[in-house]
């Protein structure tokens, strides 16, 4: 089991220079709005995955008016420490273990694992279908051999086909060419649809399991429905050619799939309360961890603003649930240290408060 013992940030976001030591399994990070709690959590995520959870462009991680940042941390693997350092300077990133730089940064990924649950993740519940496709594809790419390749192929062919539909052709489109694109889309698409169906048949069991525990409410039954845009892409393309050429884009296929989340029979997106949505989201994330967990790596859990929107009963249930899960360490942010202690001290043995 690997835990993070300390972290040092230099010119990372709002931290000019700061060092934090973590002695306990449960760490509460507290302080006022804008003080840097989320930034600190993200730095931990960064050390595990070599990138930020929130920022796709590294230059935004650099403190304003500087030209680089450094994150360094010491992980304890049982008794043996490993120092991991990331330096980003003028557009160039190096990752090292000990003092030795990795030849390829990707070699580091997989050593340590972390899972973030942040307020923006609620887009999975309330946002457009794109967020849900990203969530399910993310699981499938890791879990199903070949899924990523099929997905990349599908997307490339889709782009070519859409470009052709927008192109200036004579009086009629070249049906031979469209047939070829459609055949490729149908073949890759059928694979994607099958795997998505399979995952959707397995996930609800876990989601219910976690949701029940968080809500302690047997009346509330969560449900997930996969809504494929078509289950027979080949037939949809065959019958819909005219409409696609008029619309000048591809109207059928798994790139338009969506999922609906329900509590009992009402649609979460439209009807669930804030706290119910948050409970659903947490259950989805914990299910994701369950599905992807490899027995040998225990993830570090990063809970950003976890107290927001959950009532005292659900918070308690959640911490009881987390206590039973196998996490190497749990970091949580909140503005108020007393709240953290109040809810966690009789559930977890050792809690450290790091006040920023």
């Amino acid at each position: 089991m690997s835990t993070l013992e300390s972290i040092t940030l230099t010119q990372f976001r709002n931290f000019p220079h700061a060092r934090f030591s973590f002695r306990e399994k449960i760490v509460g990070i507290t302080g006022l709005n804008g003080i840097g709690k989320t930034n600190l959590l993200d730095a931990i995520y960064y050390l595990c995955f070599t990138k930020s959870y929130f920022q796709s462009r590294d230059k935004y991680n650099v403190q304003h008016h500087q030209n680089g940042f450094r994150i360094s941390g010491i992980f304890m693997n049982g008794q043996s420490p490993e120092e991991v350092t990331c330096v980003w300077k003028d557009g160039k990133k190096t990752f090292s273990s000990g003092k030795v730089p990795y030849e390829k940064i990707s070699e580091h990924i997989g050593k340590y694992s972390a899972v973030m649950i942040a307020p923006d993740d609620s887009d999975i519940i309330t946002g457009s279908g794109e967020y849900r496709r990203k969530f399910f594809d993310g699981i499938l790419c890791l879990k199903e051999a070949g899924y990523l390749e099929h997905l990349l192929h599908y997307n490339k062919v889709l782009q070519q086909k859409n470009a052709y539909l927008k192109m200036q052709y004579g009086s009629a489109p070249d049906h031979n060419l469209l047939n070829i694109y459609d055949a490729q889309l149908a073949a890759h698409g059928a694979f994607l649809i099958e795997k998505r169906m399979h995952l959707t048949s397995r996930l609800p069991e876990w989601v219910s399991h976690f949701y029940r525990q968080v809500s302690s409410n047997t009346e509330e039954a969560p449900r997930i429905a996969y809504e494929p845009n078509t289950t027979d892409p080949a037939a949809s393309y065959r019958n819909g050619r005219q409409r696609e050429t008029e619309a000048k884009r591809t109207l059928w296929g798994p790139h338009l799939d969506d999922w609906s989340f329900f509590i009992n029979d009402s649609h979460c997106k439209a009807h669930a309360s804030q706290g119910q949505k948050k409970s659903f989201l947490i259950s989805l994330k914990l299910s994701q961890i369950e599905l992807l967990s490899q027995s040998d790596i225990q993830p570090i859990l990063l809970l950003d603003d976890i107290f927001e929107k959950l009532d005292p009963v659900r918070l308690r249930n959640l911490f009881n649930l987390l206590q039973q899960q196998r996490f190497a360490q749990i970091f949580m942010t909140h503005t108020n240290a007393e709240d953290i202690m109040k809810f966690t001290k009789d559930i977890f043995k050792d809690i450290q408060i790091e006040a920023l």
């Binding site: 192929h153 490339k156 062919v157 782009q159 070519q160 086909k161 470009a163 052709y164 927008k166 192109m167 052709y169 004579g170 070249d174 031979n176 060419l177 047939n179 070829i180 694109y181 055949a183 490729q184 073949a187």
Partner: protein, 205 residues
């Protein structure tokens, strides 16, 4: 860059339009040409201008040529019943270097990629059917890159000949995914031309 001469500036700008050449390299080339004899430089620019204004594309195969017909199509010893479809003249050069191919070529001038503005009308395809019929072709070998665009083009051409009595094959595409023909060494290419496979091996439709 600030030049004291308009003439130099224009020459630098002209060079930097070429692929892979930035302003710095362009300046280096211009300074080099300045040191050369005038005749020498005029010979270079002359060759470039003549190449561009006098080059033709073979009316049969679309390969570059000095005449209406290219040297390969005019060669009486080449087997006109064996056609090799390629993307561009660079592929012709690579395959010729293997000395394993005795047929003639058909140079498409690209691959089907609407994203890059290339649809069927932009490729040299109009005369392919007529050529196959008039030359009584027995086999068409597709030597196209194993990419999505290459696959699409290969499927497209094989559809053009659906129902006709002609053998459609593809070079053995052990050429790793994403590797372009031009980067494949001659030996691998020679092997893949002599070991070609029927198209149905690839076309899963």
């Amino acid at each position: 860059m600030n030049f004291s001469s308009q003439l130099i500036e224009e020459a630098v700008n002209a060079f930097s339009k070429l692929p892979g050449i930035g302003k710095k390299t362009a300046l280096r080339l211009v300074m080099h040409l300045l040191k050369e004899d005038k005749e020498e430089v005029l010979a270079i620019t002359g060759a470039i201008g003549k190449m561009r204004s006098e080059i033709r594309f073979c009316i049969h195969c679309n390969n570059v040529s000095d005449h209406d017909e290219c040297n390969i199509c005019r060669d009486a010893f080449r087997n006109k019943r064996l056609l090799c479809v390629v993307e561009n003249m660079r592929d012709v050069i690579s395959i010729e270097a293997t000395q394993q191919f005795s047929g003639v070529y058909h140079v498409l001038g690209g691959l089907l990629a609407p994203l890059d503005g290339i649809g069927p009308d932009q490729l040299f395809l109009q005369n392919l059917r007529d050529r196959v019929i008039s030359q009584e072709a027995e086999e068409i070998i597709m030597a196209l890159n194993p990419t999505i665009e290459g696959d699409t083009t290969m499927f497209y051409i094989s559809k053009m000949f659906a129902g006709m009595d002609i053998k459609l094959t593809s070079i053995a595409r052990g050429v790793s995914f994403g590797a372009e023909l031009e980067y494949t060494d001659e030996l691998t290419l020679a092997r893949s031309i002599s070991k070609r496979l029927p198209i149905d091996t690839y076309v899963k439709m």
